[in-house]
Symmetry: D2
Subunit: 142 residues, 4 copies
């Protein structure tokens, strides 16, 4: 899957733990920041998606922890998405150090399409079309 | 204000930071746990309150940090409440170590009474009555 | 893998999100609570493990989201562990509703054995022995 | 106290709660982001401060909640600092909407000067000098 750089973020003090690196669950929060910025870049902000009555709750998440990141380190978040098994959506996210590029975490989240009550719905055509807009080249991420 | 012991909790690894003690914002999350258990003890669970269309959003919070608490330390949360300036509610919370009793944090939160949309409402009579039920003696907290 | 009930916890208000259920990353924080209580039950608290200079940083996490859980819902956390590919450790955790038993999340975390600096070490014999103590029957969890 | 704009941030989905606005403790995490960027702007990053063996643990925090902020809202964080009662430091932070400027939260945190073990130390001269560098005009914040 093609990923594009969507966001820079700094590790917050609140995100560290007593081992001195980021606490493991923060990776899922950063993945969410990546999804949000990816959708905005592709012209389909998630607020607008929810505004149209389409929700994307997680059904699965997977994270590989590849390296340390400390308080105030600047990280780059790269994300991509694709339709998955017809009725789901899969986001992939890689996070690396801005300085030097050493990997920090990578992983994916799988999402259902539901209405506000949590009932499964068909993936809307406009969302599938937006997914196809993901640029083919990683450098095409202005 | 009379406070009663309402909850024991252990410091989670996720709640520590790189200094090795709990991160400062966790105190407000523990205060919330104290409010929840206080209201349950007094027969008025907060879920029921929201169920009746009454919300208690924070308008102010104050925390004093009195001592360290480390991962896995067992803490005791003591809470109390009172009507404040007629149209608000004030919860007070003290947190101490279960072993030895050394103080960890103390503070208060002030809450408005609103409906779901955030519009201010009068404090309901049944809530004011429930507040008066707080036992006068700290040992009366079975 | 055999899992045993190790902990009850209530969903905190701070753990909900605007969809009204728990935010997805909280699952990893609850998994950590499960690991902590499992190790305590097996006589090897994680604080003691770190005290002996043995750290268990995550190398991988996986979560399946199976059902909703709302603020103040009481959940039961069941955990187990095993040696994994000789040099790693694998914890598995299932979380279900205390009332009715409906599943909420299940998943696993894989951990390296390291010293304080993050350097890989051999799994200590006393830790491998403790892992073997996990009861064979799920009801054997007093 | 003079405050300067130090940071823009977006409300994360993970920071919302079931009422649809940010959860109250997030304010303290955003205050920390403000302190971090203020110190960087004044040429004294907090990592460098800890690197010199000087720690600034919180002794008190105070937050006033002034307005709602929803998922993906863009906020502006303005921060300032001053020496407080000779042996402490006081940071003040205001957070408002980037669009329209409506206030969200304001408050302060009071910090001790300690060494790594938590023992109180005198405020270092280089830190007091850096504090005096805060520009007098709010527009002087390039």
């Amino acid at each position: 899957m093609q990923l594009i750089d969507v966001l820079e973020l700094r590790v917050r003090y609140s995100e560290t733990d007593q081992l001195g690196t980021f606490y493991n669950s923060r990776a899922l929060e950063w993945f969410e920041c990546g999804r949000t910025e990816l959708m905005r870049k592709l012209g389909l902000p998630y607020t607008a998606t929810e505004g149209k009555g389409v929700y994307l709750p997680l059904v699965e998440s997977h994270v590989e922890y590849l390296g340390r990141a400390r308080y105030d380190d600047l990280l780059i978040v790269a994300s991509g998405w694709e339709l998955f098994r017809r009725a789901s959506m899969r986001f992939e996210t890689n996070i690396r150090h801005a300085s030097g590029g050493a990997p920090v975490v990578r992983g994916y989240t799988i999402h259902a399409f539901t209405d506000l009550t949590g009932k499964a719905i068909r993936p809307p055509a406009w969302l599938i079309e937006a997914m196809a807009k993901l640029p083919k080249s990683p450098s095409d991420n202005s």
